[in-house]
Amino acid sequence: MKMLIFACVLAASASIFVAEAHGQAIVIANPGVKASEVSKNDLKDVFTGASTSLGGASVTPVLLKAGAAHDEFLSAYIGKNDTAFRAGWRSLVFSGQATMPKSLDGDAAVVEFVSHNAGAIGYIGKASPHDGVKVLAVH
């Protein structure tokens, strides 16, 4: 019985950890982007090159080069690690289907780019300042 309780506590702790981990990265967009929320599938399409629009309006994804928010975003919303994610984009680039999204050095650079470019959409760590952009709810 103790083992069962321990297992339940462990599973609950793990689920809390996962829920918190999924909350570490937030999705931001230029204020001109009309959508205020995005489905996980649509977000994945935009960031894997399958789609270039959100809610009927053109959007341009921008990436972080690396870091915890980058890894968290890929894990939570794309379902791939960085190597597989970039391999997918290279496949599009080398077959002439897309150009690689810009990769920026940090959250501040992403906020700066998204705030000044119409249709830009990116992601940053939840705790990072993000004045001048809107946060999209992901469902």
């Binding site: 599938n41 399958a50 789609s51 270039t52 629009s53 053109s58 341009t60 379902g79 690690n81 960085d82 190597t83 597989a84 970039r86 391999a87 997918g88 290279r90 496949s91 680039v93 080398f94 077959s95 002439g96 289907q97 897309a98 150009t99 690689m100 810009k102 990769s103 249709g119």
Partner: protein, 386 residues
């Protein structure tokens, strides 16, 4: 000299990662990759290499330059150095195209463009994208890759959202002209009989493809069909002493495919058929039409063991239903594969094939003692991309 140029090119590309981002402000991007493969076979020399002794004659280097001057317009060009045994050893133009995407529902690409048939055709040459060193040869024969990869003309494409309960439908339509080169792998059996094309076969091609991204997350099913027109080309035999013609009837190539991706698992399969007839005519009585009915299929699965290590397996089978019974009629290839990503730019691959039948890229002149019905093929490959 070409090997030297390719080596310098490959080294230059390997040194470029830092520079790859420096042109971003101009919306110009430079990307590339280079690979070096090693082949060893227990029996038979494969792909015109001396693989039974171990052959490093498999080198590729690709340079891609693209620009996106406006959000809807892209232009790009990609060149390739390709060497595989006696194939290639030349710089070729992969594609050079302008792409205008009005919205997700409609885009058009024209120039020399990748032909988006089947599951993998337009990406079959992009080694960094795959775990496999060699894609299933039943549908993607590497000795014919340059011919079937792209065409001069255009592609229209788009995606329709069918609603949350029905998924999305992607369409591609294409038309134009392609050249099946005179030294292409498709003609290898003719070359073995001493018959050579005087120049490549130019075909008018058109086709369409549908990819249904189903409501089942990660599942895509699709179909494509490609139509090639009838052609008549000059041929010679007797070391050029006799001239004749090779006539191919028009044919339609149907293709059905599916792929399922879930977390670390990928499963895919494809079926393809090329039916037609060919007439080899030299001066004299009218030669008979020779039918061919090439059927290929494969099933594959891969799994990401860790963030850097992937492993997979496929079964690829090919046969000519119109050929006489025997080992030359078919090829069955079981492959076990692994890939290790050393970092974001460097990767290594290892692959083991168990091949039955001889309807795969064997060249009689390099197998003068005759072909064995079975062979094992080991491939090692190192790649760099940026």
């Amino acid at each position: 000299m070409k090997r030297l140029v390719a080596s310098v090119f490959a080294l230059a590309m390997a040194a470029l990662p830092a520079g790859a981002q420096s042109l971003e402000d101009l919306n110009i991007q430079i990307h590339g990759y280079a690979t070096q493969g090693f082949l060893y076979t227990t029996n038979n020399n494969i792909f015109t290499t001396s693989s039974s002794n171990g052959s490093p004659e498999w080198t590729e280097a690709v340079l891609n330059i693209s620009s996106q001057p406006t959000p809807k317009l892209r232009v790009g060009v990609q060149t390739r150095y390709f060497l595989l045994g006696n194939f290639g050893d030349a710089l070729t133009l992969d594609w050079a195209a302008a792409d205008y995407k009005q919205n997700d529902r409609f885009g058009v690409r024209f120039g020399k463009v990748k032909t988006p048939s089947g599951l993998l055709n337009e990406t079959q040459d992009i080694d960094p994208s795959y775990m496999w060193s060699l894609l299933p040869q039943s549908i993607y024969p590497i000795t014919s890759r340059n011919s079937i990869l792209a065409h001069y003309g255009g592609v229209v494409y788009g995606t329709f959202n069918l609603g949350p309960q029905a998924g999305k439908l992607e369409y591609r339509g294409w038309g134009g002209e392609r050249e099946i080169e005179a030294n292409d792998g498709y003609w290898i059996s003719e070359v073995e009989e001493g018959i050579n094309l005087t120049k490549g076969v130019n075909q008018v091609v058109m086709g369409g493809a549908l990819h249904w991204r189903t409501p089942v997350s990660g599942l895509m099913v699709g179909a494509s069909a490609s139509r090639s027109n009838a052609t008549t080309n000059g041929i010679t035999t007797g070391n050029g002493a006799y001239a004749g013609t090779q006539a191919l009837t028009a044919y339609t190539e149907p293709d059905f495919f599916a792929r399922y991706e879930k977390d670390k698992l990928m499963v895919a399969g494809e079926y393809n058929r090329i039916p037609g007839t060919i007439r080899i005519q030299f001066p004299g009585p009218t030669a008979p039409l020779t039918p061919y009915d090439l059927i290929g299929w494969f099933g594959m699965a891969s799994y990401k063991v860790t963030g850097k290590l992937s492993a997979g397996v496929y079964d690829s089978q090919y046969f000519d239903r119109a050929s006489p019974l025997g080992a030359a009629r078919y090829s069955k290839d079981w492959a076990l594969s692994g890939r290790y990503d050393i970092n974001s730019f460097l990767y290594a691959k290892a692959e083991q094939h168990f091949i039955e039948g001889t309807a795969v890229g064997y060249d009689a002149t390099l197998n003068a003692d005759g072909l064995h019905p079975n062979s094992k093929l080991t491939i090692l490959k190192l790649g760099v991309s940026f």
